[in-house]
């Protein structure tokens, strides 16, 4: 197989492997093709035999292969029908039945554990055959369905999916007929996204923890003015870097009276919680504030 340079090939090269043998072909290879003989050489169960039942000369080791080749009784029947180039609608039940039975008996004789479905089908075939051999009374005939109809429907239904399976198998397929591009990405600056948080989630969590705390009574969250607590943090932040800070420097005139009060309350709270230290070296001298630890 050659690639061509610059010339478009009209027919793309097929798979390098030989196409898989269809099961029927595999069986034909094992059994040899059936050949029509001229004269019936025997009559078996009322059926003229015009050919040697070649199926009977299967080497034992081949049997497994044959059985594997069929996907069940419907598949085997389809094979028997197609082998004779018969339309499903034209099947002669008697003939198909006898051929089918040959297979089944053979499998049985080889002590191959025969799937129950094969025997069930054998029984069904025998029943159809017997019904067809019965003389039909003309009164019943009109509303009596051809005994083969159900079987034929099943065969047809199975065959379309058997065919669909072959067509699906032939569809261009990833890993066999084509491959999806997988090219090296560039260096990625992958920043891990941070979780998003909704304020309501935070509140639900707080509510939950408070409810739990309430339950045990030992921990009451006081409802304090948040502005005071915030200012406590701010004051601590100021005190963090330096040692002593003039008390007055913690107040900002532009915050007005309320701001001064809040800051004062915050410092008082900090003192109460022993978080800050306040010193005044002499009476009416400047007051200094320092965080208790640095």
């Amino acid at each position: 197989m050659r690639y061509t340079d610059g010339v478009k090939m009209t027919s793309p090269p097929e798979s390098p492997e030989p196409p898989a043998l269809r099961p029927a072909e595999r069986v034909e290879r094992l059994l040899g093709s059936p050949q029509q003989g001229e004269m019936p050489f025997a009559i078996v169960m009322g059926q003229e035999m015009t050919e040697l039942p070649k199926d009977l000369y299967i080497p034992p080791q081949a049997l497994e292969v044959i059985l594997e080749a069929f996907e069940g009784p419907l598949d085997l029947l389809l094979y028997l029908i197609r082998r004779q180039n018969l339309d499903i609608l034209d099947i002669g039940v008697a003939e198909i039945t006898s051929q089918y039975m040959q297979y089944v008996e053979l499998m049985d004789a080889m002590q191959f554990e025969l799937a129950a479905e094969y025997l069930l089908m054998a029984a069904m075939l025998a029943e159809i055959k017997s019904r067809m051999l019965l003389p039909r009374s003309s009164e019943i005939e009109e509303d009596e369905e051809d005994p083969r109809a159900n079987l034929i429907r099943r065969l047809q239904e199975y065959e379309r999916f058997k065919q669909a399976a072959e067509e699906i198998d032939a569809l261009p397929r990833v890993e066999r007929d084509t491959w999806v591009a997988k090219v090296e990405p560039p260096d990625l600056k992958r920043d891990r996204p941070l979780p998003d948080l909704d304020m309501r989630e935070l509140l639900v969590a707080l509510g939950e923890v408070l409810r739990r705390a309430d339950m045990y009574e030992s921990h009451q969250i006081q409802r304090e003015s948040l502005s005071t607590r915030e200012r406590m943090s701010d004051v601590l932040e100021v005190l963090r870097s330096s040692k002593f800070v003039p008390f007055v420097s913690l107040f900002k005139a532009e915050e007005g009276r309320l701001g001064v009060v809040v800051t004062f309350l915050a410092i008082m709270e900090l003192i109460k919680e022993s978080l800050v230290e306040v010193v005044q070296t002499e009476g009416f001298g400047p007051i200094h504030v320092k965080a208790r630890v640095d």
Partner: protein, 230 residues
């Protein structure tokens, strides 16, 4: 030519992705403030497809979105990159898969009835492991059997945009003119509806409308598989 235009960004992303990218995922490559709309994206993708002309790959549109893939005509050579041969699937598996694909949602019992044999647990397991098939519910009958359907990954793997792209099922022939070794043939027989409950094609089509099929695509009416203009 600019190297950070919309077309180049799409080319880069599709090359690197290793899987099909939907319009939605492609649009998410962009910040909100300069996110192209779907019309822009489609137009750019068409250009991306055109630019594959004469290349060893093409842009295709499958169920999962758009992807670059190796042209099938090159599979002989490209396939040699890998030591292992691509997995082969048994007929039993493929028949089971096709029943699920065409008849979904379907139970294991339904499959066994049509195939005439038991479906091995391994087959179902393999199909699920490959992400081709998933359980979409349970039928409300005794035993509550699981109902199976195919996935978007199944469509992607087989280069399909939707279940409608599956090869059409063969029609069922009428049983009206049964012949053969039936001893008698009476005129009354022809009036009988031969296949009373014959599923026929229309009921097959209804399968495609199943919401569970994973084909709900952002643009079910995209006409061609291949975007490239070759």
């Amino acid at each position: 030519m600019g190297e950070t235009g919309l077309v180049q960004i799409l080319e880069g992303a599709l090359m690197a992705a290793g899987e099909a990218l939907s319009l939605q995922r492609l649009s998410q490559l962009f910040d909100e403030f300069d996110r192209p709309d779907n019309a822009d994206l489609r137009e750019a993708l068409e250009e991306v497809g055109r630019r594959c002309e004469g290349r060893g790959y093409e842009l295709v549109h499958v169920a999962g979105g758009y992807r670059f893939q190796v042209r099938q005509s090159l599979s002989t050579w490209v396939g040699r990159l890998w030591q292992e041969r691509p997995p082969r699937y048994s007929r039993a598996l493929l028949e089971t898969l096709s029943l699920i694909a065409y008849r979904q949602p379907i139970t294991r019992g339904d499959i066994e009835e049509i195939r005439g044999v038991a479906v091995s647990t391994n087959i179902i397991k393999t199909l699920q492991e490959r992400d081709w098939v998933r359980i979409v519910g349970h039928r409300d009958v005794p035993g509550r059997p699981a109902m199976y359907a195919t996935t978007r990954q199944f469509l992607d793997y087989f280069n399909l945009k939707s279940l409608e792209d599956l090869p059409p099922l063969a029609e069922i022939k009428d049983l009206d003119n049964l012949s053969g070794d039936l001893p008698l043939e009476l005129p009354g027989e022809a009036d009988e509806p031969a296949v009373p409950e014959a599923p026929g094609v229309p009921s097959e089509l209804s399968v495609h409308a199943q919401p569970a099929t994973g084909t709900a695509d952002e643009e079910p009416r995209f006409a061609q598989d291949s975007v490239s203009a070759d």
